[in-house]
Each structure stands twice: as C-alpha cells, then as structure tokens.
C-alpha cells in the first residue's frame, strides 16, 4: 500500500505526524515515535515567553537577596555556562536530527514579531526540516479589530519567513470572522502549510479555592469535526499544505481527514493516552481499510471528499446545518 504523502514539500512515508507534545521532550520517546511508524515529529513548542523570560527569571531568583548582607553576598554558585530552555531545545533538536531518520519539525509559539523569532533561524541551523509557527493568541482587548488580529498573524509569519529558508507552517485557531480569507492571506504571505486547528487552553474553576485552575483535557475523536470541515473547504482553495489536527485517534479519523484534503494528520492526545505504539495500530488499521476498500494510495484518497469534490458542496455550508437540525428533530 502506498501511504506516502507530501507535506510542506517534505516526502513523508505516511500521513501520520506526531504533533507538538511532551513526547518530543526527549530523544528516547521521539525515537519510539519513529519506531512506531510516525512519518514526522513536530517537536514540543518553544514559547516566546520562555525565550524572553526564562533568562530574566533565572537572573532574578539567582540574584534575589544578593549583595544585601555581609555574610551572604549571594546564595548560588556562579556557573560559567547556562543551558537554558531555548538552548536545550535547540540542542535536543540537533540530537534528534542526528539520530532520527524522519523529518523533524521545530515548533515556535508566540504572538509578536520580537527578538524571539531568531530562534527560527537557530532551529534551521540545528537541522529542522521545517518550522511550525503556532500563533496562539486570544485577543481580549475590545479595542482590537479583527483586521489588526489578522495583521499580527501575517507580521509574525513574515518575520519568520524572512529569517529562514526551510518551509514554515502556521498553526492557527478557528476563531476568525473569515477563516478562508485569513487562510488565503497566510498563503499569499508565504505560509507553506496550515495546521488546523490549535486547541485553545480553556481553564476550569476550582469551587473550593475559588481559583481559576489550569486543566488540560485530552481530545476525543469528536474533535475532528471542526478541522475536518475546514480542511474540506480549504483543500484546493489554498496552495499550502494542510495538516489536520485535534481528535485524530483512529484510522477512520485519519482517513476522513485525508479524504477532506489533509496532507497529514497530527496526533497528540491519542499518543499521550496510548503511547507511541498506538501509531502502529492506526497504520495497520489504515492499511487494512484501504485494502478492504480497494484504495491504492493516500494520494488517491486525498481531497476526495473536499468541498470541491463532493456532490453537494452545500453540505459544508448553511444548508447542511439546516439539514442537520431537521434530522435532529
């Protein structure tokens, strides 16, 4: 069975990519992902805040209380070298490239076009095959217009594109007034791929402590509906690669996404839940299904149920919503 696909210009052996998650925090689990059959790994995200603040924070705590008392001029040894998070990231990426055969994609997460973007270049130098730019932005300022929000995405993308030659994918959220327009703008601005979608962190409330508590829940297969819809809509409309993420748990999820037009599907929750070996199961099921249904290749299947390919394009639009409601009755 020919499971090959092309994503961001990278030739991949199958359409399953491990998305940014704690599994890429060490070489060992990245290796296990490769062994299980992953076609590529997106490394965990390097955050703008981490780049900007980790050094400042370390400096603050190492120095707090220093030079205040004759007996304790400081409280920590002064190492010659620090290996801060961003540097560790680059080092790990470098090691991953040396020991893995599959493409490794670096992930940068931020919202402004500041100095942190230099790390895109460092990722390139460390051997990253591509960069996934995760623009995780929750615009809470009522004075901010949708145009300004979109411009911010474009500016960050421009800044990264200017500093690297490797392909850049943009991972974005579904919350735009006109997502198709944003996708087209990103396409024009040079994005090599779109990753749909970011799962926004939504905190919970602790009613005993009356505190907002961070709580990340793993996705289920239901979550694929939103990216599935939009990949089907954007397939063929934008020139960029498309990656479907959120809710990819089973071979069916992969098949659906590919049929909608995704070049790759990205897995996170399922891998965290079942471990890297889960990829092997999904690939086996995918193979089996394709054999049973007489598909020859992933490329053949890709986009076969996109909006442009289905008999009823309105099925993705308002009319379909009406239909769904009617059925519900």
């Amino acid at each position: 069975m020919d499971l090959k696909t092309t994503y961001l210009g990278l030739k991949l052996k199958n359409p399953i990519v491990a998305s940014a998650s704690p599994l890429s925090r060490n070489l060992d689990s990245m290796k296990r992902l490769e062994d299980a059959g992953c076609a590529s790994v997106v490394m965990y995200s390097l955050f703008e805040e981490q780049i900007e603040h980790e050094a400042a924070e370390l400096d603050h705590y190492v120095k707090s209380g220093a030079n205040s008392h004759a007996e304790a001029v400081d409280y920590f040894p002064t190492p010659e070298e620090y290996n801060l998070g961003p540097e560790q990231y680059i080092e790990l990426l470098h090691k991953a490239k040396q020991s893995l055969g599959i493409p490794v994609i670096g992930s940068l997460n931020g919202i402004s076009a500041g100095g942190w973007i230099d790390y895109a270049q460092k990722m390139e130098q460390a051997g990253a095959d591509a960069i996934e730019l995760n623009i995780y932005y929750i615009p809470t300022d009522p004075a901010l217009t949708s145009q300004e929000v979109e411009d911010r995405y474009i500016n960050v993308l421009h800044a990264v594109k200017r500093s690297v030659r490797i392909p850049v994918a943009v991972k974005l959220s579904p919350y735009f007034s006109s997502l198709a327009h944003v996708a087209a703008r990103l396409d024009r601005a040079g994005a090599n791929g779109l990753v749909l979608f970011n799962r926004f962190y939504q905190p919970d409330f602790d009613l005993d402590a009356l505190e907002v508590k961070p709580d990340i829940t793993l996705s289920t297969s239901d979550a694929i509906r939103l990216p599935l819809t939009w990949i089907a809509i954007l397939h063929g409309v934008v020139k960029t690669s498309l990656a479907g993420t959120s809710g990819i748990h089973t071979a069916s999820d992969v098949i659906k996404m590919v049929m909608a037009g995704a070049d790759v599907t990205m897995m996170c929750s399922a891998l965290l839940h079942h471990g890297p070996k889960h990829v092997t199961t999904v690939l086996e099921d995918l193979n089996k299904w394709m054999v049973e249904h007489e598909y020859l290749s992933v490329e053949q299947m890709k986009g076969s149920m996109s909006q442009a390919s289905v008999a009823d394009p309105a099925a993705f639009e308002r009319a379909n919503y009406m239909k769904a409601l009617n059925r519900f009755k």
């Binding site: 705590y61 007996e71 920590f76």
Partner: protein, 1199 residues
C-alpha cells in the same frame, strides 16, 4: 604596599577580592581540599568547589578534589589524613573555625607536615560575636607550631598563598597564611594574576615527591602518632628545632625566588620610610598599608618616620627583624589588631620587646641605642584604621611620656587608653576618584559597583578598589559602596571618608542619614529622584540643601525608576545609575564608558540570554537623556528636618546608645556607653521603625472570617489580632477598625486585626494564606496589599491604639489552636530577617506560647543574627516584664549550651523545693504543699503557681534567716520554665549533631527547634546534610549527590524523644499541636520545621505555597512521634500528611535550587532527580510502616 615593583610582564590583570586571590593560588597547588563555611572565609571554599565542578585543573593537570566537612574540626581532620597519605591538601577558615582546628594543627606541625591553611582573620566571639576582622583568631593559634605569614593586600594574598606553599614544602613546617577578614578578604582590587607558568616555577616537584615518600603506605608501613611517656616525649619534641631555625631563611628564599620569577620582592620584615627615622611603627595586616601611605605622606611633608611590616610572625626571626630596623630608631610603636586581657601586652608587642632585649643583651644588635617601645591596640572587629590614626600614633611617639598600652580608633573614656586623632586630617591625592554609593540590598547597587570596578580595572590602565558596607538586616538592608579609581595602585585600606563623588540611589536615605557628610568641597552629588531638575530642590531635606550649598556640590538627578520601567528593567536601577556615574565622573571618556558598560553587560548576562542583554542596553541608552544637572539656588529653603531616630518615648539606653547605632554613628560611642559584659535589654526592635514596605496589608472586615492565619504566618509579628470590650473603643482613632467577635467563647466582645505599618516588610505572606475571598470579586481577600505611604500616619496611630488595648487573659485562650495561639502576645517582633522569612513564624509562635517562661539557647546562624545582632533585638517582654531570656554561645555547642540551662533550672528548682519543704512551717504548710504539688500543665496552673511564688516571696521578705535569703534568690524557679534550643540545619545536622545527639540521649526536658532551610542560609546557602538530593547549593555547585539525612527518624529511634516534622504552610494546625506537645513532653523534644528561604531561589511571597507543595509531593512528610502515647499502649508514630499525590517536579520546578541544575548539567539533573524521586518513595514506605499501615499509599503518578 606591593607596588614597589610594578608589573613588568603582560600577566593578566584581574579585579577580584582577597578570598578569590587566595583560593586561586590554593586551588592551583593542591589536590585535596576540605571545606566548611564560616564568614568571612566561605567564598574561598566556594571558589574551590565551583572551579572543581567546572573541571578546572591544578598545575599538575588534575582537578582538585573538594569535599565539605561537618565542621572546621572535621575539615582539619580530613586535611590531616589527606596529608598523612601523601596529598597536597589545604583548607580555608576563620575565627571559631580556626579554633576548632587547633588540636589538629598541633598534630600536623608536630609531624612536620607541609601545608598552608588560608585564614581570613576574624574576631573571636567574646562578650559578643563579630563576623568582622581582627587577629584574635590567628593569635589564638600562635602556639601550635605553625609558620604564620601575614598578607596586607589582595595582591599580597595572591602572592603569599603561593610563596607559602613553596616554603612549606621545603621547610616541612605548616603555615597559616592570614589576612584581614573583610578589609582584605572582601576588598575588590585590581591585581596581577599569576600564570600557571609562574606557579610551576615556584613549586619544586622534588619536594612534592618527598612529601609523598613520607606518606603512610602499606607498601612501606610505618607508625606515626604514637603515645609517648615522660621518658622520651620531651626529647622527641626538641627534635623539631632545626626545622624552625631553618624556616626563616627558607621563607626568604621563596620570597626571593618569587621576586626573580614575578618581579615583586617581599621581605620577612620589610621596612619603608626614612632610612634615618627615629620613630618607627611596627604592624601586621591591612593596617600596614594605611600606615605605609601615611609614612610616605608624612615624610613628604618634612617628617622622618618609618614603618616595619611584619610578614613572618612565626617563627619570629629575631636577627632578620632587628636587621630590618633603621639603626637610628629611638621610639617604636607596635600595633596589635587583637586584645589579650591580662597579658603584659599584646603578642606582637611582647615579641618585639623580647626580640630587642635578646638582641641587645647578646650584643649583636646593630641599633645605636635601645629604643623605647610602646604597644597599642587598633582595628578590633574591623574598626577603621585611617591615616589620621596612624599619624596620631607617630605623634604620640614624639611625646616625652608616650602612652603605653594605648588604643587608637575609639574613645576610651573609662580606662583612658585611647589616643586622640584629628577627624579632619586626610592624605588622599586629588587624582584619585573617591566615590560613595548609597543603595538598598535589593536594588543592585553593589552589583553594579563591582561591575564598574571590573570595567575600570580590566579595560583601562587605571587601578580600582571597592569595599562594600552592609548593615546587619536581612530585609531592606542599606548598602554603602566605597570605590576608588586612580592612576597608581591603591593602598587606602579604609572607608572613603573624603568623597569627591556621592550617589544616593534611594530617596529615603536623605531623611535617614547625612549622605553628604563625607563629601569634599566641589564634589558631585547624584540623586535617584522621582522629582525632576526643576522640582527636586524643594523636596530635599534641609541638611541636604545645606550640604549642597556649603560644599558647592555639582548636583545631578535622574528618575532611575522611570527609565527602568520604560526599558523593561522593573525596579532595578543599577545599570542606569552606573551609567550616570560614568557619564558624570569622567573616570572614562563617555563613549568609551558606554561601550565598556555594554560589553560588560554582554559578558555578565550573555550566558543567560540575549533578551536580558537587550533590556540592559536599552536602559543604558535611555539614561543619558534623563540625566539632568540641577541649578543650585543660593539659599537653604527647606523646612524638612530629619525625623528623630527613635521615638522620644524610648527608654534611656535606647535613646543614648541604640539610637546612635541605628543612625550609623556607633563609631562615635565612647567605651562608657557600652555594657561591660555583653548584656543588653530586650524589647528594642520596637523602637527601630524601618518603614521598608512599599505596600502593606489592609484589612477588609466584611470579608474576614477571623481565622488568624495571617497573624500566624507573619514573619515579623507585624499583623496582629486582639479581642477586647467594646468600651475600649471610646478613645479609638477615627479610622481604627473593629468588628464583633464571631466565636462563642468571647461572645459580645470586639475583634480587631491591625497591621504595624512601619514594621511590616511587605512580604505579603499574610495575603497568600488568607482563605477568605469576596463573594462578588474573588481577587479581593480579607487582607490586601495597598501602598504604605498614604496610610502610614493613620495606621501608625491605629497601631499605637491597638498595642494599648489590653491583652487577653492567657487562661481563657485556647492556646492549642491556630486561632487561639494568635491571641497571645508575640514576644518576638519586627526582626530584621528576610522579608517573607520561613523561619521566624515558628520562632514567633514559640514566643507566643511559652515566651513568658522561656530561656533560649540560640545556635549561631540566621536566627542568632536576626535575633541578636545590634542595634536592636526582636526578643521582647510583656507588660509584666516577662519574656524570653536569650543567649548565643557558639555554632557547634548550642544543644549542650541549652542542656546546661536546663540542668541549672532543674537543680535550682530542686533546691527551691528542698528549701520550701524545709521551711514549710515558716511559710505555712498549705502554701508549701501547694507550691510543691502544683500542677503546671496549663496556663491556669502556671498563673496560680506564679501567685503562690509571689505570696512566698512576700513572706520571705519578712524573714531574716539565711535560708529565707537563699530561697528568695531561687524561688522563681518554682514556676515551670521552658528551655528552647534553636538553630538551623547547619548546626543540628552537621556541626552540632554530636552534641544534639547527646542531649537527645540525656532524657532531659529540653525543646529543640531545628529551623530547616536545608542549607547554611546565614553564610550564603552552603550545602548541609539537610540539603535534598539534586539541589544546587554553594559547596554543591554540581547538585548534591547524596540524600538528605533524616534527622527526625534518627530521633525517633531513641524511643523516648518526642519528634515532629512540621511545615506551617502545609498544616498550621499540626504545627501548633506539635509545638505544644513537644513542650508538654517531660523529656527531650526535637522539632524539624521546614522553613522556606531566600537561598532556595523562590518567590518569597509564595513561601507557604511552596511549603504545602513540599508536603503534598512527599518531599517533606509531616509526622509526630509522641512517646507518651507508647506509655498508653498506642502507636506513638502518627503520620500527619497524606501519601504523595503529585509528582516531585510540581514542587522542585518552583525552586531555583532545583531547576538550576537542569540548566547547567541537564544529564546529571536527570539522574539525580530520578534518585530523588526514589528517596521519596522509599522513605514514604518506611513512614507508612512506622505508622502501622495507617498511612495512605503513595499515589504519585509514575510518569
């Protein structure tokens, strides 16, 4: 001075302090280094440990093995063993540490073993501890048979550390190489660093081989360290004579070789000054530098005086000494930086007299006549020794009857030993920039100044010197940086007292000190001010305006805070003020200075990331545009006066003595103002209103649930609660807040929660633990931080009113609850501990529960410093005049010290009871019986017994018998007394463990409170055996490889010791219960109290949260072991915390001490963290077993 030969070669010039200079030479020439922290020598060990952790090698290409010991005694023992088996070995120490090494020092010398110990000489504790410098420690070891070599400056320390190593290898006499603590050990100075090649040339490998050949080895076994009898010991002792005889020549040979290799020529006794001088001063240490400067000045101004620097004090080489003196000498003044009460004179004086006498009587003296010699003391505990004092000594020598056994530098109005000196006399040349910087510990001033010294020292031809003064507080401490820059090497070993540049980095100093006092006429004054150049003048206090006008100062202002905040630097104004200094002072051309600052920023922060570098660059760039010269008006217009240092209501001693010390004028106090035996009144911290909090908590009554948790956790007793009758409110200030008390026990009464606005440090621990939140806006709690200045006056009045409200009758209080305990008056208040300190809440709680009947033995460390460092003490007393009686003996003996107190109390109580029994008929049988059988298990029982003792004393007053007088004297012991032995983990786990163990085994009723910060906090965070595996600490620069010692379980194993592990932030109720149970237990009690600490590198405002996480992750499980329960047939072991339910990283990721390791040695971090997790698992399993399976299973996620 060592600039008689200026550097000829292109050796590296570095600006470092004396300790680093010594450690550098020592690390290069040794193989095994045993260390232990003690101020001011700790950083020598820290450097050695860091260099070895970084893989730096000695001259033989191997990394020296550095090991921390449990005490200086241990370090000396380890070095002794290392030497005996053939290693080159050393250690670093000072003061009491050196004294603990005495037994080994006799051994090492007796066995003719080559080694050099480097000592930053420090005052030995007598009537008081002092961390500062003098020679009382080294003089206490002068009989141990070691060579004693004194260095006078940072360069000499570096050079002599090597020269001594070379000499000891040849001479086989061990050497104590000493230099003045702080003045030389902490002075930062530009100096020439010896190259590896220099060091190689100085050390003769054949001598090293000989040392190895003498070593103990089973391949050529010998016995060394025998026991000898009267028949031969004496003779054997005399065998060493030839080695001592040969020593001076060997030492001089090493000095000469050094001169040939490096270019600096030193002599055992080095004379400077007029060749035909009649008046000569003899001195050792940094004072010799000042004396040298003064001699040159005086001779240049027509006098003929001289100075003899004694470098080799032991063996004292009479011949070389006499030869070094000018033959014309007629009067000699010998200065000793030590005091030997009862001796004919101090040691150097006595040696000089003896040397002269021997030389004259032998007829070998080249001197024309026998000089008259006087001796004097100077510089005890780093007391300043300045050119005017040196001049006063020379002037004294002119007198027909000069004062012998004089003192210089103080005003001795009691025994009249002191010489007078002219405070206005100064000799510093105009081409030396002399700058003073007033800053706060937290604002980075000192760090920036150290940086400026490096810039000037290393980037220019100029010479640079820095010395830093800190006050004794750990929170809101004031710092004064003394900097000198000039074209020649700087030898002014005293504070800058004629400054041509003064910078004040904090506005509030203007109202606290006369910051311009040391300014010269025409100098420059730079002020960090929120007021611009147009408005600042009218805001200045009167004395500052006057100073600026009278001294014709050039006056500049900058709003450093504005620049800092606009460039992302937060509140750190250091880089900005540093830039201003360079811009105004003209030490360097402006552009070159800016470039140098930036390159230094890159050097300092580059390894921590580019963003931090960029922020600092931005701050530098924005500074000049915001720096303005102020047009100084001609007249003083201000009506703002300096407020009184203490309230006029303060007692006389505080007014006359304490207040002077607070004001920074302690140097001016005469001898008569000081207590003669080190005894001071308690209750003095209340008079030192420091006003260091920018924000203080403000009470929202409507939300408050009256839990009193805020008062419990306050490290400074600055938030308090009271219950009182509504009638008391009649005279309350208008803004005083109170509400109905919510509990049933004091129904109908009022409740108030009040903040001490001027004593609060703004740590916000109280807000962190407040559980009550507004129903409509959860961010609002029952207490919230608000800016202090606008409410200072109002809250001061409220707090005064609050303090005067009556205290609750202790008999009515449920003392064993968190809430109840806080209605008891704290007898430990407003300490200078770190803002948010994790130790003091426990100390304060003990003071509330038992303070009115407690005697405290306090080990040296943080708690003895915030508890007993002048000017004030937080220990106080209640309205009856009762309160904790406190004392500090040493670091190592605290458990024994406390046991001694217990033994006395037990004995005196027993004697009192015997007398009561004996005198029963005279004092009344009923009273006698009830005195003897009193149940004192609760507050009511204690109250009743006090009443009985009062009655007894009234009766005894009427009697005239000897028995009555004797009983009167000890009757107070009939009331139950509580002995508390307090200290940190450095004491309990390490240096004092032997004693602590013995005291636990004694079965006596003492209460041991271990404030466990898991490091030696007071000396800067060195590893102790309480340090957790994988934590980074000083002396564990690569993370601690071994697990934390379980002192609590060791105590449990005794079976008859009450043991508790407590962490207030995790369970305040368990904390209160454990402390009460411990005190109630009639036997030894051991409480290990987890104390978050600034040395952990944490957000101190969240200290209690970290404590909770420490417990929840199983890092610090809580339990109580109560032997009383065993007697009742129950399991005495009770686990008070639940099975670990969160991964360890939830705790460790919040603390720099843990997460730093990952940033330096990621692989090692991974390995050690894995072991740390295993430690927690295995320990929990053990605790569960002890609890008899009552404990929960470990639920930590395994991922």
């Amino acid at each position: 001075m060592s600039d008689q030969v200026l550097p000829k070669t292109k050796r590296k010039m570095v600006t470092i302090d004396g300790n680093e200079a010594a450690a550098y030479s020592a690390h290069k020439t040794n193989e095994v280094i045993a260390i232990y922290p003690i101020t001011p020598s700790s950083t020598m060990g820290e450097w050695a440990d860091e260099w070895s952790a970084q893989g730096k090698k000695n001259i033989w290409g191997t990394i020296p093995l550095v090991v921390e010991m449990q005490s200086e005694g241990g370090a000396a023992g380890a070095v002794h063993g290392a030497l005996q088996t053939g290693a080159l070995s050393t250690t670093f120490t000072a003061s009491q540490g050196l004294l603990l090494m005495i037994p080994n020092r006799f051994k090492i010398a007796g066995e003719l073993t080559p080694t050099v110990f480097h000592v930053s000489a420090r005052t030995v504790a007598t009537h008081a501890l002092s961390i500062f410098g003098d020679h009382s420690d080294v003089m206490a070891v002068r009989s141990t048979g070691w060579g004693m070599l004194a260095s006078n400056s940072v360069q000499e320390i570096h050079d002599f550390a090597l020269i001594a190593q070379a000499a000891t290898l040849e001479a086989r006499v061990p050497i104590v190489h000493f230099f003045d603590g702080f003045r030389s050990s902490a002075e930062v100075m530009k100096m020439e660093q010896l190259s590896d090649e220099d060091i190689r040339q100085m050390i003769d490998d054949e001598l090293v081989h000989q040392h190895r050949r003498r070593a103990l080895s089973p391949d050529h076994p010998v016995l060394r360290g025998s026991a000898q009898n009267p028949d031969v010991f004496f003779q054997a002792r005399e065998t060493a004579n030839s080695y001592y005889d040969a020593f001076p020549a060997i030492m001089q040979k090493a000095m000469d070789k050094f001169a040939a290799v490096v270019g600096r020529q030193y002599k055992l006794y080095q004379y400077f000054g007029a060749p035909d001088a009649e008046r000569v001063m003899i001195v050792m240490g940094s004072g010799a530098e000042t004396a040298h400067e003064t001699v040159e000045y005086l001779n240049a101004h027509g006098e003929k005086v001289g100075l003899l620097k004694v470098r080799l004090f032991r063996p004292f080489a009479v011949e070389q000494f006499i030869d070094a003196l000018p033959t014309t000498v007629k009067q000699i003044a010998v200065l000793d930086r030590t005091k030997e009460p009862g001796a004919i004179g101090e040691p150097l004086y006595c040696d000089v007299i003896t040397a002269l006498s021997e030389s004259m009587t032998s007829g070998k003296s080249p001197l024309k006549s026998a000089p008259r010699v006087i001796g004097g003391r100077f510089g005890l505990s780093s007391k300043e020794f300045t050119p005017t004092m040196a001049k006063a000594v020379f002037d004294e020598l002119k007198k027909a009857q000069p004062k012998n056994h004089f003192t210089i530098g103080i005003n001795d109005d009691v025994s009249h030993t002191s010489l007078e000196f002219d405070p206005a006399f100064g000799i510093e040349p105009d081409d030396v920039v002399r700058a003073l910087f007033f800053g706060l510990g937290a604002d980075g001033t000192v760090g920036a100044n150290k940086n400026s010294i490096k810039i000037i020292g290393e980037d220019t031809q100029n010479f640079a010197q820095g010395y830093f003064f800190y006050d004794s507080k750990k929170s809101g401490s004031n710092t004064i940086s003394h900097l000198r820059f000039g074209p020649r090497p700087i030898h002014s070993c005293y504070l800058v007292n004629q400054a041509n540049f003064i910078a004040c980095h904090q506005w509030f100093f203007l109202e606290k000190f006369d910051v311009l006092e040391a300014s010269v006429r025409g100098g420059t004054f730079l002020l960090n001010s929120i007021y611009g150049p147009e408005e600042v003048w009218d805001k200045l206090p009167r004395h500052i305006q006057k100073g600026i006008i009278e001294k014709q100062l050039k006056f500049y202002v900058i709003d450093g805070y504005k620049v800092a905040s606009s460039t992302g630097m937060g509140a750190r104004v250091n880089t900005i003020m540093q830039t201003c200094f360079f811009a105004i002072s003209g030490v360097l051309p402006k552009d070159q200075a800016i470039e140098a600052i930036k390159s230094s920023i890159k050097k300092t922060y580059g390894r921590k990331g580019e963003s931090i570098v960029q922020k600092n660059y931005a701050a530098v760039d924005a500074t000049l545009a915001n720096l303005f010269q102020v047009k100084v008006p001609e007249k003083v217009t201000s009506t703002i006066e300096m407020p009184p240092v203490v309230s006029p209501r303060a007692p006389e001693f505080v007014q006359k003595t304490t207040a002077r010390i607070i004001a920074g004028k302690g140097d001016e106090l005469p001898v008569s103002r000081m207590p003669n035996d080190g005894t001071f009144p308690t209750g003095t911290a209340q008079w030192e209103k420091r006003n260091i909090a920018l924000e203080i908590p403000v009470w929202e009554m409507d939300i408050c649930i009256q839990c009193n948790k805020c008062a419990l956790v306050c490290p400074h007793a600055a938030i308090r609660v009271k219950i009182f009758d509504a009638a008391e409110l009649k005279s309350a200030p208008a803004t005083f807040k109170s509400m109905d008390y919510k509990g049933v026990e004091y129904k109908g009464k009022k409740y108030s929660l009040q903040v001490a606005p001027e004593d609060c440090t703004g740590c916000s621990l109280c807000v962190e633990v407040c559980p009550a939140k507004s129903k409509s806006q959860v961010k609002v709690k029952a207490i919230n931080m608000k800016p202090q200045p606008p409410i200072r006056e109002q809250e001061r009045a409220n707090y005064d009113f609050f303090l005067n409200l009556p205290e609750l009758d202790r008999r009515t209080v449920k003392v064993d609850t968190v809430k109840g305990s806080q209605f008891l008056q704290p007898l430990f208040e407003y300490s200078g501990a770190c803002s948010g300190c994790g130790e003091t809440p426990y100390v304060k709680l003990v003071s509330q529960l038992f303070g009115d009947r407690t005697v405290i033995a306090n080990a040296t460390g943080c708690s003895s410093i915030y508890g007993g460092n002048l000017p004030t003490t937080p220990w106080t007393k209640n309205l009856d005049g009762r309160g904790p009686a406190w004392s500090n003996s040493l670091f190592e003996d605290n458990a024994e010290f406390g046991l001694g107190m217990r033994l006395t109390i037990d004995k005196l109580t027993e004697m009192a009871k015997e007398m009561v029994e004996k005198m029963a008929s005279e004092i009344g049988n009923d009273l006698a019986t009830s005195l003897l059988l009193a149940d004192q298990m609760d507050e009511a029982g204690i109250h009743d017994q006090r009443e009985r003792v009062k009655m007894l004393k009234e009766k005894l007053t009427q009697m005239k018998s000897v028995d009555a007088k004797n009983l009167m004297n000890i009757a107070d012991n009939l009331v139950k007394r509580s002995v508390w032995i307090m200290g940190g983990d450095g004491w309990a786990y390490d240096i004092g463990y032997g004693g602590l163990d013995h005291v636990l085994a004694s079965g006596r009723n003492v209460n041991i409170l271990v404030l466990d910060t898991e490091v030696y906090s007071n000396t800067g965070g060195q590893m102790s055996k309480a340090t957790f595996r994988s934590a980074i600490a000083k002396f564990a620069a690569a993370g601690k490889p071994t697990q934390k010692k379980d002192l609590a379980l060791m105590g449990v194993m005794y079976g008859n010791v009450y043991v508790a592990k407590i962490a207030m932030g995790a369970s305040d109720a368990q904390t209160v219960r454990a402390i009460i149970e411990a005190e109630a237990y009639d036997g030894p009690s051991l409480i290990i109290a987890y104390s978050h600490c600034i040395a952990h590198g944490i957000d101190m405002a969240r200290g209690m949260t970290n404590q909770k996480l420490a417990v929840d992750t199983g890092y610090f499980p809580l339990f109580r072991f109560n032997p009383t329960l065993a007697a009742e047939g129950k399991n005495p072991f009770k686990l008070d915390s639940k099975a670990p339910k969160q991964p360890l990283t939830d705790f460790t990721s919040l603390e720099t001490r843990f997460n730093m390791l990952e940033k330096i040695y990621p692989d090692r971090a991974k390995d050690l963290s894995k072991l740390a997790v295993e430690d927690i698992r295995s320990r929990w399993a053990m605790l569960e077993q002890l609890a008899g399976g009552d404990g929960e299973k470990d639920k930590t996620p395994t991922a």
